[in-house]
């Protein structure tokens, strides 16, 4: 097997929910040994599902974001079967230890001493309360790279603020700039863009620190404020505010400098096509693709300024056409004419997509608690050291034997005792 770029780097992973785990997914995909440090006594919310044993009332009303267990059945071990966890946990290991007891902390100390990176995305007071703050951890291993990724960072008035991704996005301007132009902001549904941005940003942060340590031998603490990592993604909006003292209007699916630029209905239920025309030449190609109908040949649509001004009318004409079309065929037809058009993919569309399949995006894996399924795969392709899903998503405590026996060199007797005492196991206790 090819050696991967991050082979031999060990990451102690204290991350929860999505943002932190997304970072360690990227590191694990390209060879780092990522060990999730979990506890049988503590079930972090919205990580291995919403609840360890979800009640029937939740299952009855929930979508698969909240309860998409295989066949909608939580089974005996729901924490090993939730897609919100299993979508990122491939290639990672899971060990369990009760962090609230001195012996548990001692086990973590020994793990830190054989690790390169510690990463966590809890509220700022969680790791200090466990006695696992950076100052403590670096005494155990001086060159440890310690990435802490709370919502607002380790200083400033919001340091201790509580917030899910959607809360931080709202404060940072991301919520106010999207939404239907004809409705007010109470119609806004939650998205979790920040989790994606934080995951990639934190993976980059770890890699920068590893690169620096390779050159100098020094580890370090990284204050990763998820808000600040995401703010640059709205850079042009801040520039508009600074340069011109105004906020760009909310435009729904429209664009200030492209027209048409919208989402149009197609044949069938919940089938949609987006079309985005960036230039007058592309507009001409769109007209040809439509068979140059008389409405499209009108002078007022020939220039961007005209199309922006007469957008309502333009959108009506296009929607009338798309409504008679099958979405995938319309996408292919417009693309064949060099027009940026895309069907709004629902999940079955992605799995059936010839492009994603030609590139091998999905990988088939068998998971001992879930069976065999196709999983979304690598975020990028490397020509000489390709990443793959080498191991299925980690079940709770699945790799305790490796960690306690091989890494920490413990005997059968010690392991048996830690199991009796509730450190080692594969089932949540009392939660």
């Amino acid at each position: 097997m090819t050696t991967l770029p991050l082979s031999g780097i060990r990451v102690l992973d204290f991350t929860v929910v999505w943002a932190g785990p997304y970072a360690t997914m990227m590191l694990a995909d390209f060879g780092a040994e990522v060990i999730r440090v979990e506890s049988l006594q503590h079930f972090p919310s919205t990580t291995r599902g919403l609840m360890p044993r979800p009640p029937a009332a939740l299952l009855a009303s929930a979508t698969h974001l909240l309860a998409g267990y295989p066949n909608w059945e939580p089974g005996a071990r729901p924490w090993d079967r939730h897609p919100m966890f299993n979508c990122h946990a491939r290639n990672k290991l899971s060990m369990t230890v009760d962090l609230t007891r001195p012996e548990g902390k001692e086990i973590v100390r020994r793990l830190v001493q054989c690790s390169d990176v510690l990463i966590e995305n809890n509220a700022v007071d969680v790791m200090p309360k466990l006695g696992l703050d950076y100052e403590t951890v670096r005494r155990w291993k001086e060159d440890i790279i310690y990435v802490s990724m709370p919502g607002f960072g380790h200083s400033g008035p919001y340091r201790t603020f509580q917030g899910y991704g959607s809360n931080v996005e709202a404060l940072c301007g991301f919520t106010a700039v999207r939404g239907y132009a004809d409705l007010d902001l109470t119609s806004t549904t939650a998205v979790y863009y920040m989790d994606a941005a934080s995951g990639a940003g934190a993976a980059f942060a770890v890699l920068c620190a590893l690169h620096y340590r390779q050159r100098t031998g020094q580890g370090q603490f990284i204050d990763f404020a998820q808000a600040e990592n995401m703010l640059p993604h709205l850079g042009e909006y801040f520039m508009e505010a600074a340069m011109n003292g105004r906020d760009l209007p909310r435009l729904g699916n429209r664009h200030p400098a492209m027209a048409p630029h919208n989402c149009y209905p197609c044949q069938g239920e919940d089938r949609w096509l987006v079309i985005a025309v960036a230039s007058d030449a592309e507009w001409q190609r769109l007209c040809q693709a439509l068979g140059s109908p008389p409405w499209a040949r009108q002078e007022k649509f020939a220039t961007l300024a005209g199309r922006l001004k007469h957008q309502d009318e333009l959108d009506q004409h296009l929607a009338a056409w798309t409504s008679t079309q099958e979405a995938r065929a319309a996408m292919a037809h417009l693309q064949a004419h060099g027009v940026a058009a895309g069907m709004v993919f629902r999940e079955p569309d992605a799995y059936a997509d010839p492009h994603l399949n030609a590139r091998g995006f999905f990988e088939t894996i068998t998971h001992r608690e879930c069976g065999t399924h196709r999983y979304p795969g690598m975020l990028w392709k490397m020509s000489k050291t390709p990443g793959h899903i080498r191991q299925p998503p980690c079940c709770l405590g699945e790799h305790n034997d490796y960690v306690y026996r091989e890494l920490l060199g413990m005997s059968d007797e010690e392991i048996a005792r830690l199991r009796r005492e509730g450190h080692i196991g594969d089932t949540y206790l009392g939660v």
Binding site: G68, L171, C172, A196, H233, M239, D247, H355, C370, R374
Partner: protein, 405 residues
């Protein structure tokens, strides 16, 4: 002066617009030397996209370009000119990384594809960012941000159930593509340094978003697990409330109250007596169709008496995840970002002094380099060609006359 963790990394930057430049901006902020190649005359097309001061286009005043190109050097090279292509090939042995985001057919047509550059520098890491990747049936298809979100991301889950799916902010697909490409590039650099292997990295925006943790991968896997596709939901859940965006005295707040935070919310509202009100005493009672509006009326009335910041501070004092919904202009004034110095004012000879965002994360041992303004078009052409290729001022002048630089 701080050198940054990537002080020993040199990047030949063949990027334009947003995704590529955001990737190389990140590398530059953490100390890499980034040599940005721009087309003579017009430069990066982002120079011609707004916002502009007063809305008046000017290639040195584009807010988008100024934001994306801090800490880089600008060198103009005509890539269509054979002598320009030679200059690029001559630079390749001097760099660790090439980042580009042309359409996949462009660099091969210029003799600058990875297989042609690899022999010049076997340890080269070349990152190619494109809409659909370097292979596959859609390789040459066209896309804008909204197309990527539609085909790759969770657009089908974004918006109201009875309405059309919605995009996010204008350029997030491209920014996140650049963000992921920076991680991919550094994975490649570590591979080159640790294993001695150079390689080509293929970042497809469609796959970055098909693999996004923002609901997409959970929904994809949830479909595999349950056989049912996802759908758009109402903005506020039935069981978990209040959740979503609510109006207040001067705007809106965003809140998400799971059952465990219920009593803390009542404390923030200074209505602790509601905890023993039978209508709201437990999650099941609160879900009843007649009780839910009764509580929301009290909540909205409380919000109406508070500004978004007052409500946020009162809620957060009790540990309730509630935040102000800010327009971008208010973010510039936000006290937290002021206290942390998140925006830094930088002068630029054409665009004047503007606030720029500091580095996205703060490293203690190897801090990011100080922010430097974006380069003027071709500002570093002479310096770079002299330093790396040993060209004299006279030779550069000759190239300039021939339209190469």
């Amino acid at each position: 002066m701080a050198a940054g963790p990537l002080a020993d990394v040199t990047v030949l930057d063949l990027t334009h617009y947003i995704a590529g430049p955001y990737c190389t901006k990140l590398l530059a902020l953490y100390g890499a030397e980034v040599i940005k190649i721009e087309r003579p005359g017009r430069g990066d097309p982002a120079r011609h996209l707004g916002p502009f001061p007063g809305g008046v286009p000017h290639p040195e005043k584009s807010g988008l370009f100024l934001h994306l190109n801090t800490n880089k050097q600008s060198v103009t090279v005509n890539l269509k000119h054979p002598r320009g292509q030679e200059l690029i090939r001559a630079l390749v042995p001097h760099v660790d990384v090439v980042v580009e985001n042309f359409s996949p057919r462009v660099l091969p047509s210029l003799g600058l594809s990875y297989p042609e550059l690899e022999p010049l520098n076997p340890r080269l890491v070349m990152t190619s960012i494109s809409n659909f990747g370097q292979s596959g049936p859609y390789r040459d298809w066209k896309a804008q941000d909204i197309v990527i979100y539609a085909m790759g991301g969770a657009m089908n889950l974004t918006g109201l159930p009875e309405r059309e799916p919605l995009r996010l902010a204008l350029n997030l697909m491209a920014y996140q593509g650049g963000n992921v490409a920076a991680a991919a590039t550094m994975t490649g650099v570590l591979g080159a340094r640790r294993l001695g292997v150079g390689q080509h990295i293929d970042v497809a925006l469609m796959e970055v978003h098909a693999g996004s943790i923002d609901r997409r991968t959970t929904a994809l896997l949830g479909y595999q697990y349950t056989g049912e596709p996802g759908y758009r939901e109402e903005p506020t859940g039935i069981g978990i409330y209040p959740s979503g965006v609510y109006p207040c005295k001067d705007g809106y707040v965003q809140v998400l109250v799971f059952p465990q935070a219920w009593e803390r919310l009542l404390a923030a509202m200074e209505m602790p007596e509601l905890a023993s009100d039978p209508r709201f005493a437990d999650p099941l009672a609160r879900m009843q169709p007649e009780n839910r509006p009764a509580f929301l009326a009290l909540f909205l009335d409380w919000l109406r008496r508070h500004t978004r910041y007052e409500a946020m501070y009162k809620a957060q004092a009790q540990g309730v995840p509630m935040t102000a919904v800010n327009p971008p202009s208010a973010v510039l004034e936000d006290p937290h970002f002021q206290a942390r110095g998140t925006f830094v004012r930088l002068a630029h000879p054409a665009a004047g002094t503007l606030p720029y965002l500091r580095e996205p994360f703060r490293m203690t041992a190897s801090p990011a380099v100080p922010l430097q303004r974006a380069p003027l078009l071709g500002e570093h052409t002479e310096a770079v060609l002299q330093r790396y290729l040993g060209l004299s001022a006279k030779e550069v002048a000759q190239l300039r006359r021939e339209g190469v630089v």
